[in-house]
Symmetry: C2
Subunit: 187 residues, 2 copies
DNA sequence: CCGTGGTGTTTACACTGCTTACATCATAAG
DNA sequence: CTTATGATGTAAGCAGTGTAAACACCACGG
């Protein structure tokens, strides 16, 4: 095989394959089952337990990947947003991610966070830190911290409200416009 | 029996009992199972299907009850918030509800919304309408709509961030203070 | 008094997460 | 080259779940 990871014994890189399959299932369907994922990868139903203690552990791994992807997306343009306009785009990217990957986003944020899932916690903290740092550098006023968490909360809330259909938009561009306007109204 | 509802045939009011049991399970545990709920009420495992097409249908009923409770809480003090300070308390109540009933809140907002669950959709819309109306009456400026959705989003996002442990508070009063400060920073 | 239809039961099936015991096989020591 | 070893995947099975039929009950209207 030509898997990038150091080829392990039997499968190549089962762990990564399982995460990928779980994520694929999540993105296209609704729920994902350990057995279906194993079947999808072509492996016995209990093989995943060599790599994940739990079904939740696999889910946490998927969530962690989601956090890393989101962070990469937020950082894709350039460095931290230096202007308020750039911060608006930040929010747009955040909401777009949620709408583009609804089930993944729900797994990332909509579940109880098990504090022992280290990988996940660290990946989530990385996103958290990114947002906090960018708002802090943008608004170095007295109540910068509160404004920062407020804008982050607003962005996060916007994502959920669009996901749940409480807010609606005709198109992606329309949605982006509304996100910008909403965040701008708060600044 | 002395159930308030018009006593139906065998059980009194199974539907309400099921919703109550499901909610009880949700509030104290994590997941709830149809069978466990049925067992809890003292009825056969398939009896719920006379009242709910699906497991999701029961969950939607629980969510709807949650929305009604949240709305009642928001309206408990008096009418709509007439001042900005009152609106801050609105946000505090919202976040408190989320933290006090984490699993219920997640069921209300953290799941895909099936648009055919009429009861749930209507109950959610009632809360939505309450928030929109209150912000609209408080901030009748040009971009009132955007400010309204922004504050609602921020409140909603705050609730989730506290739920997920991304934001932490030492006590309920500390949390309330931070919620007030955060929302105030946006106005 | 008896049918009828709403209500709950029985039985059964396919599926899930998970445990325990077992088979395989790449690697490293002899 | 052989062989012990430990990581990796398998086989078999248990308890619990959601769901679908077919069936039993029983308050109510005729």
């Amino acid at each position: 095989m030509s898997t990038s990871s150091a080829g392990t014994y039997h499968h190549g890189d089962l762990r990564a394959a399982l995460v990928a399959a779980a994520r694929r299932a999540l993105e296209s369907g609704e729920t994902f089952s350990l057995r279906a994922v194993a079947r999808d990868v072509g492996v016995s139903p209990t093989a995943p337990y060599r790599h994940f203690a739990d079904r939740d552990a696999l889910e946490s791994a998927v969530a962690a990947e989601g956090f890393r992807d989101l962070r990469a997306l937020l950082l894709s343009d350039d460095e931290l947003p230096a202007t308020r306009a750039a911060f608006l785009e930040f929010a747009v990217v955040y909401v777009d991610f949620a709408v583009a990957h609804p089930s993944l986003f729900r797994v990332m944020f909509g579940r109880e966070c098990d504090n022992d899932a280290d990988e996940r916690v660290r990946a989530a903290a990385a996103v958290h830190e990114l947002l906090t740092r960018s708002t802090a550098s943008l608004f170095p006023d007295r109540d910068a911290e509160m404004l920062g968490t407020g804008l982050w909360s607003a962005t996060h809330g916007l994502a959920f409200l669009f996901l749940d259909g409480k807010l609606r938009a005709a198109s992606a561009e329309d949605r982006a416009r509304r996100v910008r306007a909403t965040i701008a109204a708060l600044i």
